[in-house]
Amino acid sequence: MSPSLFVEQSLNGVQLGVMLFLMAAGLTLVFGIMNLINLAHGSLYMAGAFFAATVFQLTDSFTLAVLVAVPASALVGAFVEWAVLRRFYQRSHLDQVLVTFGLILVFNDVVRMIWGVVPVPLSPPDALSGPVHLFGGVEYPAFRLAILAVGALVALGLYIVVSHTRVGMWIRAGASDRPMASALGVDVELVFSLVFSAGAALAGLAGLMAGPITAVQVGMGEPILILALVVTVIGGIGSIRGAFVAALIIGIGDTFGRVLLPPALGSMVIFMLMAAILAWRPKGLFPVHG
């Protein structure tokens, strides 16, 4: 592998990583703080992509698509939390898996009713549609660089919010000891709603960023959900930092695994990494609870 190809593949790995991080951040917070397994997280990713595709088609402005799709996904998330999931915080994980799996089916059919079965178009904004020349003769798709930048900014923003603000303190308190946090006067219900909506917004952002490079179609959230769950588990449930590190490990591991190993092995790299890391650290890289 030549140096420039190595650089390009590393960029690919990191870019896949930050993409997964956007998905996993919301999932890990919801799981860690609310103790809720939300399989419908992928549906919010799908919602983000479809909202963005519609707005982009109508207005021809990608910026506007982002400005509409992210809050719209957050609203959908808030509505689902309020209407359904709120009733399931105290129930067993199996009940949560069942109800959120049911939500996946409902979301898929609602999307099919509104947008139809044919995948909808969503292309990158014109300015980012081609490749750009980087140092050393590396050509890299401009839109993927944008994903990288957005992902890195979101990671930084989340770090600041979670580690250096009062809301972040509540979130961390909720994640490590819920009964104690509520005993100390944290409005747990409000924090839950906020966290869930923020997670939905991130999923929507991930969906709309993924839309221009993948197919925007019914069921697009399920494959990415599996990867996000792997990232969540490797990182340590509830840990934003863990999710970030794990997402990068998975992104880079998967990219180089696919290129360097035979196909059957290459597609298993993610799961072999997960098995190895969990054998070494059963609670993930950065466990939050005890």
């Binding site: 390009e8 896949l16 099919r112 909808v120 798709p141 490079i213 197919a215 697009m220």
Partner: protein, 393 residues
């Protein structure tokens, strides 16, 4: 007076009932199993819409019997397909089955169908096993044998003098079939053969590798959503103008072009039908399909349409008596219908002998993306497995 009038009316009504009861035949039930939900639901929809369109030509009757289509969804899962087929045979009591688009589903359900004595007419899936050793008197494939589409491409690209070919496909049976087909006519010397995971979303790593390899052309088979992902990413990497991209069925057609958008312009496909094919049946199909469904038909739709006409013509030929299996089989083998492909007949293994074309994605006069017909690349192509088939008499 009034009294006798009432009796006359009653008698008339009764007579009408009796007459219609005598005329009404038992309906012919056709089980249509396909992928109707999920990302691949668009394929099942095109197959079924065009199939129904074909039946409308004779007001949904075949051989004097009204036709009832029972639709089932296999969800692209062999086990689900199996359950749907069992139900259709046992409780719906269908007379024959059709519809399946994925080879892995077909391979799982074909035995129970044939064991129950029903006929199966395949609109799409054409796995090599069923064309060769496991060929069956009651199994007919109207679509193609999987290898065929890439055989045409292989021949064309060899003639054009391409040397370094970079092949990519998902790691599953049809992907291997396509490569086998390509090599059968191109030769074994490929620059690279890359197989990726089924359902893969991101191809950036593979695209970086292929850019570094500097091939003359890329030949890929990514049906459905995978094709959308790959093609968008290939165009965004700026490769579409440098390295021509060739593919086979179901990758860049009317089921995916809308989603890929202008990124697909310039791509080549080896196909057995194009909406620009110049024959009366194809022209009628284009017009009827667009009038009925307000969209351009895909190749899947063309196959569904021909499948409807094959069944129609054969059932008409036996006067609706498909229980006479030998006669119905003979009617299918010698079926005469106006194929949208123009040139079509069944080989001795009940798979098609037909022509193949090179089509290229362009914009038509209305600014819509279409598969423009470039040239014929193969005439009267039979499949390579017909020699392995010993059709029981």
């Amino acid at each position: 007076m009034k009294h006798s009038f009432r009796i006359a009316v009653l008698a008339g009504v009764a007579a009408t009932f009796a007459a219609s009861a005598a005329r009404a035949q038992t309906p012919l039930k056709i089980g249509f199993v396909s992928s109707m939900s999920g990302p691949e639901g668009v394929i099942g929809r095109d197959l079924l819409d065009a199939f129904n369109l074909a039946l409308k030509d004779k007001n949904n009757t075949m051989g004097g019997r009204p036709v009832q289509v029972v639709v089932g969804d296999d969800q692209v899962k062999p086990d689900v397909g199996r359950a749907v087929v069992d139900k259709m045979i046992d409780s719906d009591k269908v007379d024959l089955l059709t519809g399946i688009n994925f080879s892995n589903v077909l391979l799982a359900v074909i035995k129970p169908i044939l064991d129950s004595g029903k006929f199966y007419i395949s609109p799409n899936a054409g796995p090599s096993q069923l064309a060769g050793k496991q060929c069956n008197p009651h199994l007919f494939s109207v679509g193609f044998q999987n290898d065929n589409n890439f055989e045409g491409l292989g021949k064309y690209m060899k003639e054009k003098g391409f040397k370094k070919i970079y092949f990519m496909a998902p790691n599953y049976p049809a992907g291997k079939d396509m490569l086998t087909g390509f090599k059968r006519y191109f030769g074994d010397a490929m620059q690279a053969e890359v197989f990726t995971a089924m359902g893969q979303l991101d191809y950036s790593a593979e695209i970086a590798q292929l850019r570094a390899a500097k091939p003359d052309a890329v030949v890929m088979f990514y049906p459905g959503g995978m094709g959308i992902n790959f093609t968008k990413q290939y165009a965004q990497a700026g490769l579409m103008k440098d390295i021509p991209l060739y593919t086979g069925p179901g990758t860049v057609d009317q089921t995916t072009l809308g989603a890929i958008g202008d990124a697909a312009i310039g791509m080549y496909t080896g196909a057995m039908w194009s909406e620009f094919l110049d024959n009366p049946a194809s022209k009628k199909f284009d017009a009827d399909f667009e009038a009925a469904y307000k969209r351009i038909p895909s190749q899947y739709a063309a196959q569904g349409y021909d499948t409807g006409h094959v069944i129609q013509a054969a059932v008409d030929a036996v006067g609706g008596k498909i229980d006479d299996k030998a006669a119905f089989q003979k009617a299918l083998e010698n079926v005469k219908f106006d194929s949208v492909r123009g040139n079509f007949k069944f080989n001795t293994n009940h798979f098609p002998i037909q022509d193949y074309y090179l089509v290229q994605v362009e914009k038509d006069a209305k600014g819509r993306l279409v598969s423009a017909l470039k040239q014929k690349i193969m005439s009267n192509l039979a499949d390579a497995y017909v020699g392995d088939c010993q059709m029981p008499k």
